[in-house]
């Protein structure tokens, strides 16, 4: 009797990677779900012994799914597999009834140990490739790479500041020149400085990160960073730079680690100080083309802090990036 295992993740790439990480010679019957709602249906139908559950998903996220199991008295064995690796995320899902927590990118050895701990039948069967049938598009792959990277950035922020960072599903889009202009222009309307740019380049992939604070509430950022001095323009700049260092740096490192490359980072530029947004717009408007953009909206629980991190890749990078992603997908 094989163990019935369901992989629930909104990302096709993640489903493929998790399927590939399953012990190839174990007697498993594997099904897939693209969000919590689908997983819940399968559990209700009595078709699930073990559920590998993602947290950040549209429709119904991992937390909501666990809550639904509790409410309905359903008790599949759940292992959370998430890019959101904040200490608090782990604590919360264990409280909600999950039996284990594994972080993305998933280590096959850890998965095997976790399954063993749950007493999953390891009776040997002929080796199978479980991921062959899965088709994945590139946008989905970018989203998953960003998902893991932003989770690592959030983890750093969470550990440094002892907060919980609310993570959304990242947006991956081809950004029109006009949309970029609008995003930049929006930063000009604030009295305070509210955006930081930083270039990055490595192994044929290059671009610029743009971190925009929406309705920058420096009072909240100051509270968060344990800053007690007078909140003048200098202090605001410091707080902005500290946050940018963490969010941009950690997110880029997360992406670089997954692609097995390293980025050099240029020095950050604060928009609105000695670099006027209107001048940038005037100088570059004709040069901007449609570009690949990964957009992540970070919010911090219990604080009025909300920022958008945009990673804009140069057109020249996209081919190399696609190649690296294809490699990620095919890696045995």
């Amino acid at each position: 009797m094989p163990t019935r295992l369901v992989i629930c993740d909104d990302s096709g790439m993640a489903r493929k990677q998790i399927a590939r990480a399953l012990p190839p010679q174990w007697d498993l019957h594997v099904e897939f779900a693209a969000d919590g709602r689908e997983a819940l249906e399968l559990v209700r139908a009595g078709r699930v012994d073990v559920l590998l559950l993602d947290l950040t998903m549209p429709v119904m996220d991992g937390y909501e799914t666990l809550q639904a199991f509790k409410a309905e008295g359903l008790a599949p064995k759940v292992i959370v597999v998430s890019g959101d690796v904040q200490p608090n995320a782990r604590k919360r899902v264990l409280e909600l009834g999950a039996l284990d927590f594994l972080k993305k990118p998933l280590d096959p050895a850890q998965l095997e140990q976790a399954l063993t701990r749950l007493g999953v039948n390891a009776a040997p069967v002929p080796e199978v490739r479980r991921d062959l049938a899965l088709q994945v598009d590139f946008r989905d792959c970018y989203r998953e790479v960003a998902n893991v990277a932003m989770g690592q950035a959030a983890d750093l922020l969470a550990r440094l500041l002892d907060v919980f960072v609310i993570l959304p599903v990242p947006n991956v889009n081809m950004l029109e020149a006009g949309e970029l202009q609008m995003a930049l222009k929006s930063t000009e309307d604030y009295d305070t400085i509210s955006a930081v740019c930083q270039g990055y380049i490595g192994s044929g992939i290059a671009g610029e990160a743009l971190l925009i604070f929406n309705d920058a509430s420096f009072k909240d950022i100051a509270r968060l960073m344990n800053f007690h001095g007078k909140l003048d323009a200098t202090a605001e700049l410091e707080l902005l730079m500290d946050t940018a260092n963490i969010l941009i740096g950690a997110c880029l490192k997360g992406i670089a680690d997954q692609l097995d490359i390293r980025f050099s980072q240029g020095h950050p530029t604060v928009l609105g100080r000695h670099c006027k947004v209107s001048d940038l717009l005037a100088a570059n408007a004709g040069r901007w083309r449609e570009t690949l953009a990964i957009e992540i909206n970070y919010r911090i629980e219990d604080y009025n802090i909300n920022c958008d991190l945009l990673l804009l890749f140069t057109a020249d990078s996209i081919q190399t990036f696609n190649g690296k992603i294809a490699h990620l997908l095919d890696a045995a």
């Binding site: 550990r159 200098t234 410091e238 500290d242 260092n245 963490i246 490192k253 980072q265 950050p268 000695h274």
Partner: protein
């Protein structure tokens, strides 16, 4: 090429790089100090090695730098600081008598984590960039732009706002009003029989009169009020958070001050008066143009009524 040679070359290059390299351990004791740092500080690597960075350089903002360094140690993440935060972290003097542009070196600093065999961040490296020329030219550009901006919105003769910029301000105030619902009043005024002043005393005297009125106006303004030269001898003032009765008080004081004023030009004493029209912003006013038109209408009424007086729109 042997690994030894390559290693030797790397050291040689780092030593000669025109960028500062400093390696610190967890106690902020200096472990590496390259040629750039030696040359700009006047302290050799052997003199500083093993010494506390902050003891050697009390000028370095210790708490600030430690805060940045701590996150690098803790998170194994790079940190960047730019000259706009701390212009001169290391107190290095300008060393070029001819082409130097500032007294001290402006610096950007990157802090990178260095991990030990066990994967722990045991040291950090400060990479110090000399950005003096960039900082100085950016600052010069910013101040030139500010000056240009100021010039482009100032009227030469009166040094009040010129008409274009003043109207922009009126538009902004009109919009702000719509949101806040507070009361503001617009005052338009001009110099009575100004043509006669010009004809009788000459244009330079006319200019002197306009300048004198501007001075009186400026002395009577609060910081938040916005005054501009609207046309030849016509002026406009937005009195922020001021209703019509209070604005009338302002207008009358201005009128009486001008009436008592004597402008002396080429030994000729010139006396003159002004007429003023006021319009408080009301809900039914559709745009800033209508607001100005209302004040203009009140001004016309003051003229019709015999000049040297203030009239409020609708009264």
């Amino acid at each position: 090429m042997s690994t030894m040679t390559e290693f030797h070359w790397t050291l040689e290059v780092l030593q000669n790089l025109d960028v500062g390299l400093v390696v610190l351990d967890r106690d902020y004791q200096i472990q590496v100090w390259n040629g750039f740092m030696e040359n700009h500080s006047g302290l050799s690597a052997s003199e500083v090695r093993g010494h506390d960075l902050f003891a050697l350089f009390p000028e370095i903002p210790e708490e600030w730098l430690k805060h940045k360094a701590q996150t690098v140690f803790l998170l194994n993440n790079r940190a960047f600081t730019i000259w706009e935060q701390q212009p001169h972290v290391f107190p290095f003097r300008n060393y070029r008598p001819i082409t130097g542009t500032a007294e001290f070196m402006y610096q950007n600093i990157t802090i990178i984590p260095l991990t030990s065999m066990s994967g722990e961040v045991s040291h950090i490296c400060l990479i110090v960039y000399d950005v003096t020329d960039i900082a100085v030219s950016k600052q010069a550009l910013t101040s030139a732009n500010q000056q240009l901006e100021r010039l482009s919105r100032t009227d030469r003769l009166t040094e009040l706002n010129n008409r274009g910029y003043w109207e922009e301000c009126v538009v902004r105030e009109f919009r702000r009003q719509q949101r806040s619902g507070q009361k503001s009043t617009l005052v338009m005024f001009d110099i009575d029989h100004f043509k006669q002043v010009n004809d009788r005393y000459g244009h330079p005297a006319g200019d002197a009169v306009i300048r004198a009125v501007s001075q009186v106006l400026r002395r009577n303004l609060r910081d938040s009020d916005i005054a501009g030269r609207y046309g030849g001898e016509e002026f406009g003032v937005v009195l922020i958070n001021t209703d019509a009765p209070s604005a009338l008080y302002f207008a009358e004081r201005l009128r009486k001050t001008v009436q008592a004023l004597t402008v002396t030009h080429d030994d000729q004493a010139i006396q003159f008066t002004i007429s003023l029209g006021l319009a408080e912003l009301a809900a039914e006013v559709e745009d800033h143009k209508e607001w100005i038109a209302r004040a203009d209408k009140a001004l016309y009424q003051a003229k019709e009524g015999g000049r040297n007086r203030s009239c409020v729109f609708g009264e």
